[in-house]
Each structure stands twice: as C-alpha cells, then as structure tokens.
C-alpha cells in the first residue's frame, strides 16, 4: 500500500482518538458524582428504568449535580438492577449496589451521595482494589471470570462511540486497514478462533474461501438471531457494546473485500435494534463505516435486517433466504454461503461473539489469543447460565475450565440446598449431562463428545426436582414447533418423538417406546437436512442414556421420581402435620376440592383435584403439611367426616 494512504489512515485515527480522549478526560476530571445504571433489557426487566427516574428525581430535589450514565449489562442478572456510584468526593472507590429497590435508590442518593455513608449493608463491593471496601474481584463470580469479549459490557455507555474510542476502540480496524487482507486472515488462523455460533468451525477458513473467491461483490453477515430458549449472550453484547461488534465486522469484511453487510437481529430484540441503529449512524458519522473508511480504499455499508424470530432462521442458509424475502428454510450445503450466499455472492456469516472477538486478536496478535483457553478451543466461552443456580447471568471464562468450577465455584452452585442433577448445554440442540461429567473441560470437542453441544452458549442448570423425561419433552416440543417442516425427518420424526415422550409423561408409555425413541432419534440425526433436525434428538438421546431409570420408572411404575409429571402424581395432606382448624389451603384451591376431615384437619378430594399445587404454597411453612406423591395411586385415603345435622 502506498505510504501516503497509510499515513492518512493513521492520522485520521489519531485525530479521532485524541478527540475521544479529551472528552473522557473532561468527564474524569469533573468533580460531579457519576452514577452508572445498567439499562440493558435485563436491567430494565428488573426495574432499572424506575430506579433511574427515582435517582434523577432525588438528585434534583437535593440539587446535586451528577453525571448519570446508562450502561448495558454487566452479566450479573441475579443482582439487577445494578447501580454503580463513583463519587470521589467521599474518598471511596466506585461502589456497586445490587438489587436496587426504590428504597435503596433513595438511600444511595441521600446517604451516600448526600452524606458520604457508603451503606455497607447494601453494596456488593468496590469496583477497584482499595483499603476501605472489599473489591468485587474478590468475589468468585467476578474474579474467576476472564472478560475478553465482554470486557467493557456494563461499564460503558453503549450509545457513546467516543467512550469506546477512548478505550482504544476502532484501533484494531485502523490497523487492519493498513494490513494486507491475507495477513488479517493469517492472524485469525494463528489465533485458532472457532465460530461461536454453535458448530465451532475455524473462522479463518470461511474468510479464506470467501476471500479467494472471484466476485465483484462480497457480503458479511452478523448472525444475531439467537433463538435458543434461555440464551441471551448476543443480545447482551449488542446492548452493551455494539461498537466492538461493528469493529470486528468491519475487520472481517476488509479481510475478504466485502463492501456490504447485514446485521441480522431478531425483532424481539427492540432495544438491541435501537442501540445498533445508533451505533451504525455514529460509526458512519465518524467515517468508521461508509465510503473510504478513515481515508483508506476500503468502503463498507452495513444495515440491520430484522428477523421475525423463527429459530430456524438462525441457520445460515435459512437466514439468507429470509433476507432474500423467502420463507426461511435451510437448503443443502454445499455450496456453502462462503462460496454462494446472499444473492449468489460469497457471504461470510458469523456469530456476534465471533465477530466481537476479532478486534482483540488484531490488537494483540493471533498467537496471544491462541494461548488463552485450550489448544483446540482457544479463547473464552460466554454462557448465559440460568435455571437452578445461585448467581445466574452471563459468564465469560477461558475455555478448558471445568463445568464444576463454572457452576459451583463461579456461579455459586445450586440454591436451597438442593442437589445438582443435570446441566443442559447448547439449548434445543444440546444435551443433558449428569454429575459424572462435571469435571470435563468446557471446550467444543469435550462437550460434543459427552453428547451435548457448545451451541451458542445457553446453559441450564437443573436440580433434583427436575424430571428429565419432561425436560426432553419440553425441548422436543420446542423443536417440533420451530421446525420449518421442509424435510421428512425433522417435520414428522420429531413429532413422533414428542408424541412418545408425552405418552411417557402421562404414564401411558411402554418399554418398547424406549427402543423406538432411540432408533428414531438416531435416524433423525443422520437423515435430517439441517442442523436443527440433526441435533434435535440430542436431549432425548442424552436423557435416555444418562437418566434411563427415570424413563423406566415412568413406564413401569407410573412414577415420576422428581414428582413433576402431573398425571403421575397426587397431592395429599399429611394429617400428622396438618394443624387443627387451620383453613389456609381451603381458600387457595381453585376447584374447591379441600374438605374437612377428622379432628378438623383437611383432606383433598382426589377425584376433583387438578394438581395445581396452590395448596402447597398456601400451607404455612411451619406446618408443611401438603405433600406430593408418585405414583398417584399411592396417595393415602383421607375420609370425609359425615356431616352431622
């Protein structure tokens, strides 16, 4: 490349950076307190908008000037709404407050900002090491993570491009603009980066195929369809740090010579769409997108496409068809999109996390990245951990960490002194792994070998109260509902799996059903057209393999060991525990099936009971008299007392 262009790019970037630094310095030197409020979808769902309003109201009432910054999500769902207050006037480091209620918000403003009392009983910790308040980093959920992709998430204002630039953002793009495109791909090859969208395909290979294709037009697509139930990593990243994604996308585009691109976001993510829209405008405004980016010979136009929320549209060929205006149905590969994609043009489709990883690789080098994690799965893994786990949320860890460490050490284990039963990894495509797998390392290949799938990062932790047959049924219900119906195995095969599982949970199964489940599952896996069908049987196969005794109990004893399946369980009132004359359960029953038995205790009329469990909740904890039992026929018979007139 001609030196003058290189100079031009470097000068243009340096100007941007110094402008952003100035803004950051001004903010830093201001004596006003800074209040960071997590306002991503998760924070809002927990009431962050209300907290924001309360804090603003109080500040103006007390006539205190403060800088309120709306950040994205820091990944600690269990602690939302989160407010971080940086008020150096009081001599304390920035402090994180958790589960902020209106009352706590009031205290934060009046007591801490107003009077300098840091409210020890309400804070989670300090954001930096110091002598006064323990740092959050001493807390395993913070300290044991390794934040590479989500480093800035929850700490910066996603709608402020200047803040991202001041942190060194877009410097990797500036560097990539002066690199030979082949060198960019080489660097990714050295890094060993594998796609974070599910299959773990080496990222450089797709770029290489598209890069060497002869075509006057090439396209880059970011896949933010994220349809797995319970997964929200990609949404969080977009809502918390959209520019890192855009930077990665621009670098990938540059490496293959793509001049246009699409960010495919499901329309159920309105906040992500709004934030991304602003990010695109801001980046274009600073010539970080658009024509001749930073004075180079590289131009890139990006636009948002809103998917209509079909899970299957996350599959790359279906995604392309849906962008082209057709019904989103996968097609046979090859040709792969990198050869023939959108409009027949070479198209590279990458996941949000994959693209968001690229800037760090260009900045620190492929070799640096290859040393994080394991040798075959370098880098970090980002999971959204939900279910029966104490510190649920978004976690980023180096690959290779064991499941046990992740679930128990980092995320605090199982709440309510319950026992761990299984972890479901990879959403509907994944599998349920029992305790014996807790010590396997988290990486693409180990998890696949165990029968689950890295997927795009959904992880559901299940305790002893979970019925594994019902879990399999739940996932098959999802796949059948989300199957596009194109190919025979997925359209009809998964429906049979679902029907059989439903039968078993109702106690109508036969032992031969287990053989059918197994053989059919294997055939669906081999015969289906796309990844949806190929992986749909995984929840069935893994539960059959690791929790077979539960299936057998459902079939042979009509017993649901977890006491979950309605048809196989019954509620009764333990007369030894029931309190004479207490009526708490009576009013709670929607079908009025609770009667008075001997000694003014209560009984349940089994012929009327709908097994809703309301009486369990209504029964005062100190009595704990309502019990659930399976099989249902074992329920003790309680006689109604004859009404005496």
């Amino acid at each position: 490349m001609i030196d003058t262009i290189i100079d031009r790019i470097n000068i243009a970037y340096a100007a941007l950076k110094s402008g952003a630094d100035e803004i950051a310095a001004a903010r830093k030197s201001s004596p006003d307190p800074k209040i960071y409020i997590g306002m991503a979808t998760c924070g809002r769902a927990a009431g962050a908008a209300e907290i924001d309003g309360i804090i603003r109201g109080l500040l103006s009432e007390l006539d205190v000037k403060a800088d309120i910054i709306h950040t994205g999500c820091i990944g600690h769902c269990y602690a939302e709404p989160i407010v971080i207050v940086d008020d150096p006037r009081h001599g304390f480091p920035p402090i994180m407050y958790y589960n902020v209620t209106p009352g706590k918000a009031n205290l934060i403003v009046r007591a801490y900002i107003g009077r300098g009392d840091p409210l020890y009983e309400h804070l989670l910790g300090a954001m930096t090491e110091n002598e006064l308040i323990p740092s959050v980093m001493g807390f395993p959920r913070f300290g044991m993570e390794e934040r590479l992709v989500t480093e800035h998430c929850g700490h910066i204002d996603p709608e402020d491009i200047q803040e991202y630039i001041s942190l060194g953002g877009y410097s990797s793009l500036a560097r990539a603009l002066v690199m030979d495109p082949i060198k960019i791909i080489d660097e990714l090859k050295k890094s060993g980066l594998r796609g974070r969208g599910g299959a773990g395909f080496p990222s450089w290979k797709k770029l290489d195929v598209a890069g060497s294709a002869q075509s006057e037009k090439k396209i880059i697509i970011c896949n933010a369809d994220e349809g797995d139930p319970g997964a929200y990593m990609d949404r969080t990243i977009i809502e918390s740090n959209p520019h890192q994604l855009l930077e990665g996308m621009a670098i990938a585009a540059r490496s293959i010579g793509a001049s246009s691109g699409i960010i495919y976001i499901r329309h159920e993510y309105p906040l992500a769409v709004k934030i991304m829209r602003k990010a695109l405008d801001d980046a274009a405004g600073l010539n970080l997108l658009g024509n001749s980016i930073l004075g180079s010979d590289f131009s890139l136009d990006l636009e948002i496409f809103q998917g209509s929320g079909a899970f299957v549209c996350g599959e790359e060929t279906a995604l392309i068809l849906s962008v082209e205006g057709h019904r989103g149905m996968p097609r046979m590969r090859p040709p792969f999109p990198a050869e023939k994609g959108l409009g027949g043009k070479p198209t590279v489709i990458n996941n949000v996390k994959t693209l968001s990883t690229i800037p760090a690789i260009i900045k620190n080098g492929g070799e640096w990245f290859s040393k994080i994690g394991t040798s075959d799965s370098p880098g970090t893994a980002i999971f959204s951990i939900v279910g029966n786990v104490v510190h649920a949320g978004l976690v980023e860890i180096p690959m290779g960490v064991s499941l046990r460490r992740l679930i128990f050490d980092i995320c605090g284990g199982i709440p309510n002194q319950k026992k761990f039963k299984a972890v479901q990894i990879g959403g509907p495509s994944g599998g349920c792994l029992p305790e014996i797998f807790l010590d396997i390392p988290i990486d693409f290949d180990s998890i696949l070998e165990a029968g689950a799938m890295m997927g795009s990062g959904g992880m559901v932790v299940m305790d002893g109260d979970t019925c594994m047959v019902d879990v399999a049924r739940y996932f098959l219900e999802f796949t059948q509902r989300e199957s596009c119906g194109k190919c025979t195995f997925c359209r009809i095969g998964t429906k049979h799996l679902l029907t059989i599982l439903e039968k078993i949970t109702k106690g109508e199964g036969a032992m031969s059903d287990l053989d059918t489940l197994e053989s059919l599952s294997k055939e669906i896996r081999r015969g289906s057209l796309c990844g949806l069908g190929k992986t749909a049987p995984n929840p069935v196969l893994t539960t059959l393999q690791y929790f077979r005794s539960e299936y057998i109990a459902h079939i042979e004893e009509k017993r649901c060991p977890a006491l979950k399946c309605r048809a196989l369980t019954a509620f009764y009132i333990d007369l030894d525990k029931c309190a004479r004359g207490c009526d708490a359960c009576v009013g709670s029953c929607p079908v009025e099936c609770i009667f008075t038995a001997k000694g003014r205790k209560k009984g349940i009329d089994q012929s009327v009971c709908v097994k809703c469990g309301e009486c369990v909740t209504a029964c005062p904890k100190e009595y704990d008299a309502v019990k659930r039992i399976s099989p249902a026929w074992k329920v003790p018979i309680v006689e109604k007392i004859k009404e005496s007139h």
Binding site: A310, R327, M329, R331, M332, Q480, R481, E482, S483, C484, G485, K486, C487, T488, F489, R491, I492, G493, T494, K495, H496, T499, I500, T516, S519, L520, E523, R526, G527, S528, L529
Partner: protein, 224 residues
C-alpha cells in the same frame, strides 16, 4: 464432458456435473424420490429418500444434490442407505392418509412404487399415525382444493408454479408437522391464472391438490 461412474458396480457414462439421481434414473436404476424434478438447479433435498452411499463419503448422501464426478463409486442399496430410506418412508406414511381405494393417483402413486422397491408395507410399522393440526380440506381457493392429510410436502407444486408463472400462487406455511400448502387468499379468478393452468394439480404425485372439477368426480368428492 462425458465421464464414467460406477453405480452398484455397473459402469455408467454420464455428463460431468449432472445430478447423480438423474443419471441413475436415466439409466434405469431406480432410487426412491419424491421431491426431485428434472432441471432443478438446487433440488430441495427434502423428502430424504434418495440416499446413496458414495465411496469416500462418511455418511449416506441424498443423490439429488450430488453432481457426478469421474470415477465416482456409488451404492444404492447398502444396509445404512436402506435404513434411512425405510425410516423416511415410514415417517412419510405415518402422516399420509392411506386410502388408495378412493384416491385418484391409483397406480401412478409413487408411494406404492417406493414401498414395492423398498419391500416394506405402506402402513407404518413402529409408530402410529399422526395428524397435522387442522386437517380440514382447504377450500379457500376459487378452483383448487388442498388435502393436507394426503400431502407429502414434496413441493413440486411450488416449483412448477414458479417455473411457469415466475412467481408463486401457493406457498408453504406453518411449522412442524402442521406445515403445508397455503394459498395467498387471492380469490379473484381474473387476477390468478390457476383455472387455466392447473399445473400444480397435474404434478401432485399423491392427489393432495385437486381442481374442484376433479374433486367432484373423485370417489371421495362425490360421496360427500
């Protein structure tokens, strides 16, 4: 360029790059199939019946989507190919109303041909019959009638419609086992060419799409 491939140890000459399924069919080697039509650039590969084993491939592949290459060695009836074909066929039949007596397809029905070829019965053996959501016959089109209980979702009707008219007058709609053919609600005879065309009716292999006229003359239509 003409090349030579081997199918079940028989040598066959073919034009390089032709669909393997077509080459086999043209040379009298039957491979079960429902959704493939000649001239398709990218076959839907959705019926999952035309699997073959190819030397060097890890798993059976649908022959419709494979282009022939010099020296390719193909096997059409290995145990694992048959396993997949039986399974796919059983699944299709478990969602197909078997009523040959009053069906207009009669002897031309490909399902009968496939069952003979695979040497398995029409009726599913492991699994029961499953219904597709609302199974009422769709009558919201001025001249077409759609019966989802017979439809095998091969998509030939869509393909021919687009080929003839350059656009679709019918479409796939719905999800999972409820996915079927749907019309766009155009009911104006003047604006839709269907009454004059009926190509979809002619191509439907299982008489799931009928014109009103044909339906009324069918045993089912006249009895109701």
């Amino acid at each position: 360029m003409m090349i030579i491939i081997s199918v079940d140890d028989k040598e066959i000459q073919a034009e390089e790059g032709t669909s393997l399924l077509k080459v086999c069919l043209d040379n009298g080697i039957y491979i079960p199939n429902l959704c493939y039509m000649e001239g398709m650039e990218t076959p839907p590969s959705s019926c999952r019946l035309c699997f073959v084993d190819i030397d060097g491939e890890k798993n059976p592949v649908p022959s419709c989507s494979v282009k022939v290459r010099e020296g390719m060695k193909v096997f059409t009836n290995t145990p694992r190919v048959r396993g997949l074909q039986w399974s796919a066929f059983e699944l299709i039949m478990s969602n197909h109303r078997i009523d040959c007596g009053s069906c207009l397809s009669r002897k031309a029905c490909p399902l009968i041909k496939i069952s003979r070829h695979l040497k398995i019965r029409l009726k599913p053996f492991r699994v029961g019959h499953i219904n597709s959501g609302n199974e009422d016959i769709v009558e919201d089109h001025p001249c077409l009638i759609y019966d989802i209980t017979k439809c095998v979702r091969c998509g030939k009707c869509l393909h021919i419609c687009e080929k003839i008219h350059g656009r679709l007058y019918l479409t796939f709609a719905g999800r999972g086992v409820d996915m079927g053919i749907s019309f766009f609600g155009d009911s104006d005879d003047e604006t839709i060419p269907c009454a004059r065309c009926l190509a979809c009716v002619k191509i439907c292999p299982v008489s799931a799409l009928l014109s009103y006229e044909r339906y009324e003359h069918s045993p089912e239509g006249s009895s109701s």
